[in-house]
């Protein structure tokens, strides 16, 4: 063993022997603290676009890794540039880009479906918007004194279960189209 590491090992062992307390244990036993007004709404609002931002970042990172620029990706989106630019910049949903463009990106970037399938589905499901059902306003933050289950229910948004199911179906359809195009590209070994 490296003798330098031994000296540090000794230092760390002595520190533990002196009684290092794990502060995480005490924190885990702490009582709950209600979220301040507006924080839950802000978190959920950020969540509505976070999936597309994560996916865009994954695409940009994969492009960097093989030397493709943002311009190269936009060029691959021939005829679809506006939506492509917005998505790549993290400003737009992938469902504003044609499935064949997205499939072409994933193929060109050598991204296996395991790296994009779930995230793409999530991003489309997040962005699907339907008319409110008219069940009334959502009130966030008024959860003081509620148990965990009741608190969860109180925070549920005005999107109905039906809306969410529609969003899931839209996402299923879109991802299926991308997958079919990707499989065609992979099988044919197309370059454009």
């Amino acid at each position: 063993m490296n003798s330098e590491l031994d000296q540090y090992d000794k230092l760390i062992l002595e520190a533990f022997a002196s009684g290092l307390v794990d502060p995480r244990v005490a924190a885990d036993a702490s009582p709950p603290a209600d979220l301040p007004p507006g924080l839950a709404s802000r978190i959920l609002a950020s969540a509505s676009t976070a999936s597309q931002e994560i996916l865009a970042e994954r695409v940009r990172t994969a492009a960097d890794a093989i030397g493709l620029s943002r311009s190269d990706l936009v060029e691959l989106a021939s005829g679809d540039e506006t939506g492509a630019r917005a998505f790549l910049d993290g400003r737009g949903s992938p469902d504003k880009v044609h499935p064949s463009t997205i499939a072409r990106w994933f193929w060109a970037l050598r991204l296996a479906p395991s790296r994009w399938h779930e995230l793409l589905h999530q991003a489309i499901a997040s962005s699907a918007r339907f008319a409110p059902s008219g069940d009334g306003e959502v009130v966030f933050g008024r959860t003081t004194g509620l148990d965990d289950g009741s608190r969860a229910q109180a925070l549920m948004s005005g999107r109905t279960l039906e809306d969410r199911e529609k969003g899931r179906r839209v996402a299923d359809q879109f991802v299926q189209e991308v997958m079919e195009d990707w499989e065609t590209l992979s099988t044919n070994g197309a370059t454009s």
Binding site: P32, I43, Q122
Partner: protein, 189 residues
């Protein structure tokens, strides 16, 4: 709904799943983070930002995979991430010259090991600034004196990979201790 079901639900209904997770664990996590920041004297200004970061991290499928691999319990995983992020924020403030991680201890820029309680405080700070996984590995190794076989089992990997993970964690810990100004007697910096 159990935690694993909520995590799986995110890909199909991210909004609904996030609402449920936030509603179920939001206040509990906030209490934990506030308490940790207060006890560690890190300041509580970052707590709500860290809280948001913790929940938002679940939207990354890679993160969800880590949670599922580590047992699938959301609150413990988010708590560990939150504590680490609070320490990381404090560390960046020190690096940026905005203040020390704790109020009443002066960190020398160089020199021999100080009295045991001081060096223990440095080791504690260095440890808490490591990633949650590194912290676990280091506690298992140094506090419990766990074998590589035990560490491998807990991490869900083979012994070769666990040995490397332990070595890498120890190397990072050493580097962090040096950054905090401690060079043990007889060791090169």
């Amino acid at each position: 709904m159990v935690d694993t079901e909520m995590l799986v639900r995110i890909s199909g209904d991210p909004q609904g799943a996030m609402e449920e997770i936030l509603g179920t664990y939001g206040s509990t996590l906030r209490g934990r983070l506030s308490s940790y920041a207060s006890n560690r004297r890190l300041g509580t200004a970052d707590v709500d930002d860290v809280l948001q970061d913790c929940f938002m991290s679940l939207l990354d499928p890679d993160v969800r995979e880590q949670v599922l691999t580590s047992g699938g319990e959301i609150l413990p995983w988010l708590s560990r991430r939150g504590y680490w992020r609070l320490e990381d924020g404090a560390r960046r403030r020190v690096r940026d010259g905005q203040g020390l991680p704790f109020e009443d201890v002066t960190i020398p820029s160089s020199g021999p090991t100080g009295p045991p309680s001081y060096s223990a405080a440095i080791v504690e700070t260095a440890l808490l600034q490591m990633s949650p996984r590194d912290q676990d590995i280091l506690r298992w190794h140094y506090d419990e004196r766990a074998t590589i076989a035990t560490i491998a089992e807990r991490l869900g990997m083979n012994q070769g990979a666990a040995k490397k993970a332990a070595h890498d964690a120890r190397t990072r810990m050493k580097r962090r201790i040096i950054e905090l100004g401690i060079v043990p007697q007889g060791a090169k910096s």
